[in-house]
Amino acid sequence: MNTKLAPVALAFVAFGLFPLAGGAYEIDLATKIMILAIFALSLELLVGQTGLVCFGHAAFFGIGAYTVTLLTPMSGPVSLWLALPASVGAAALYALPVGALSLRTKGVYFIMITLAFAQMAYFVFHDTPLGGGSDGIYLDFRPDPAIGGWQPFDLSEGHTLYYAVLASLVLVFGLLAVMLRSRFGRALAGIRVNEQRMRAAGFPTYGYKLAAFVLSAALAGLAGFLYALKDGYVNPELLSWHHSGAVLLMIILGGLGHLRGAMLGALAFTLLQEAFQSQALVGDFAQHWQLPLGLTIIAFVALMPKGLIGLALRRGRQ
């Protein structure tokens, strides 16, 4: 337990101290990594812990991002205490019928259906006036955390957003770590290994899976909410299936079945993408960054199915 948690705690501390050393670009990148780590953790709950391969997770991320943007008026910020629950809630609300329907099926069906429903959400934002079309919409003001007249912090100031994201990541990690050790988490692990047996043992597995699905979507909505705050801009690409594929890749890259793996994968994926997109490193080829990324994915799946954690664990045992 300690050997597992120590690197995570170290990483959190490192991220906490990072603003002392990093410039604006590095801090923005670190913020992005932490947000994607929350997103990856949310999917790890489904794929790694429950064994449900969801290929439409970007929909929940995007809904979270769009909700705060749509709630913010042109003239000024919206209250954080309205926007945050609304964003997380909207993602969970969409996940309820989608999960209820998709979970009637299994395996490949589940993969295809979650992808199709995510695409449906994509079309809603892409094709209707609601989402501003493919151009997306700007979020001009970050939500205001004032309660009454009291202003506990200001998200548009200095590194406040950075620390808010870090705090969210620590909370989400803590929540999942505790939850996976609870009866609920054990039941999910049981479903992953052998659902038939769990049902025979008297567990209402459908209900457990649906609860995991909705919770996972809510956390993805939180990640989307933070992403909109960071960029100040949302567009339909946040819901696209490329984004769903990317987050799936993160958890595999890091190592499926470990919360640490999801975070490690978010870090590795973002840095990899950043390198392939870097004009300085690869010159004009940077605009074709998806080509090396695609080849990396193929090589990775072929050679390292257990992910980076698997590599570390194997080395540790030797």
């Binding site: 009637r104 809603v124 080509l291 994915i297 193929i298």
Partner: protein
């Protein structure tokens, strides 16, 4: 909606449905027989469409042209591509989990999209249809219907019939069906299962590419066309029942009608109607209309 409009929309629905069937049948064939979920299947459709655009001038120059010559060259190239891809990538995926299949084929999509962007760029291109297919036929007193759309339907029906004949009546079809049911037994009977899979995969690729080629004059060619068709094909396969060619046909026609009439009757729901259909079918028959096996 008057009768002529209704008829035209019906013909459009059938044409769209048959075209979807052509793509979806390849997807479901590959899954049903080899157990591989191939996200890159939409890319083959895209590649076909771009071949219709890029090959025509070369074929014109070297082979003396002709629409069918272009189609034939395109199909031959896509068979070769399928054969090569199976050998290079997909043969490693048979024993893997769905998750890894999804990821590797997702990686392939990125590669195909970027290669397309490198080779032909990101512009939208129109594709000319052959002159003798570019006319219209009268339908009622004032309406007309484009011949080319009838041609698309005819090609799809012909291919569907050919596929049914091969699967039901030939030795190759018998082996394919047997290979889907019991791989080990087929191998024990002395059939080269590797070669069989390679052939099935190449056929699947060619079906999608052919669909892309004949659709190109109507839909034009544009980036992301593969992704769009892939997701609709997933809807078709979910409704029809995975692995079932018959299910794919029925579901594709159903999706064709719902999409076409959805756009006419409820324009505000245009993009959603197909997904609502899928949701309804999941409530009614979560296992699909004709689940194979």
């Amino acid at each position: 909606m008057d009768l002529a409009t209704f008829l035209i929309q019906c013909l459009n629905a059938v044409q769209y449905g048959l075209l979807l069937f052509l793509v979806a049948s390849g997807l479901t064939l590959i899954f049903g027989i080899m157990g591989v979920i191939n996200l890159a299947h939409g890319s083959f459709y895209m590649i076909g469409a771009y071949m219709a655009y890029a090959l025509a001038p070369a074929v014109e120059q070297h082979l003396g042209g002709g629409f069918f010559a272009t189609l034939a060259v395109g199909v031959a190239l896509s068979v070769a591509l399928g054969y090569l891809l199976e050998w290079l990538f997909f043969s490693y995926l048979y024993e893997r989990e769905h998750l890894q299949q999804v990821l590797m084929t997702y990686g392939l999509i990125l590669v195909f999209e970027e290669l397309r962007s490198l080779i032909v760029g990101n512009d939208v291109h129109g594709v000319a249809m052959p002159e003798w297919l570019s006319g219209t036929v009268p339908l009622g007193e004032v309406m007309t219907y484009p011949v080319y759309r009838l041609f698309i339907s005819a090609v799809c029906v012909a291919v569907a019939l050919a596929m049914w004949l091969v699967l039901a009546r030939t030795r190759l079809g018998m082996r394919i069906r047997a290979g889907a049911t019991n791989r080990e037994m087929v191998r024990a009977m002395g059939v080269d299962i590797r070669l069989l899979y390679r052939i099935v995969f190449a056929i699947g690729v060619a079906l999608a590419a052919l669909a892309g080629m004949i659709a190109a004059p109507v839909s034009s060619v544009y980036p992301n066309m593969g992704g769009q068709v892939l997701i609709i094909c997933f809807v078709v396969v979910v409704i029809g029942g995975i692995g079932s060619i018959k299910g794919a046909l029925v579901a594709a026609l159903l999706v064709g009608f719902v999409d076409t009439f959805g756009k006419v009757l409820f324009p505000s729901l245009a993009g959603l109607s197909v997904y609502l259909l899928m949701a309804a079918m999941l409530l009614w028959k979560p296992e699909g209309l004709f689940r194979a096996g």
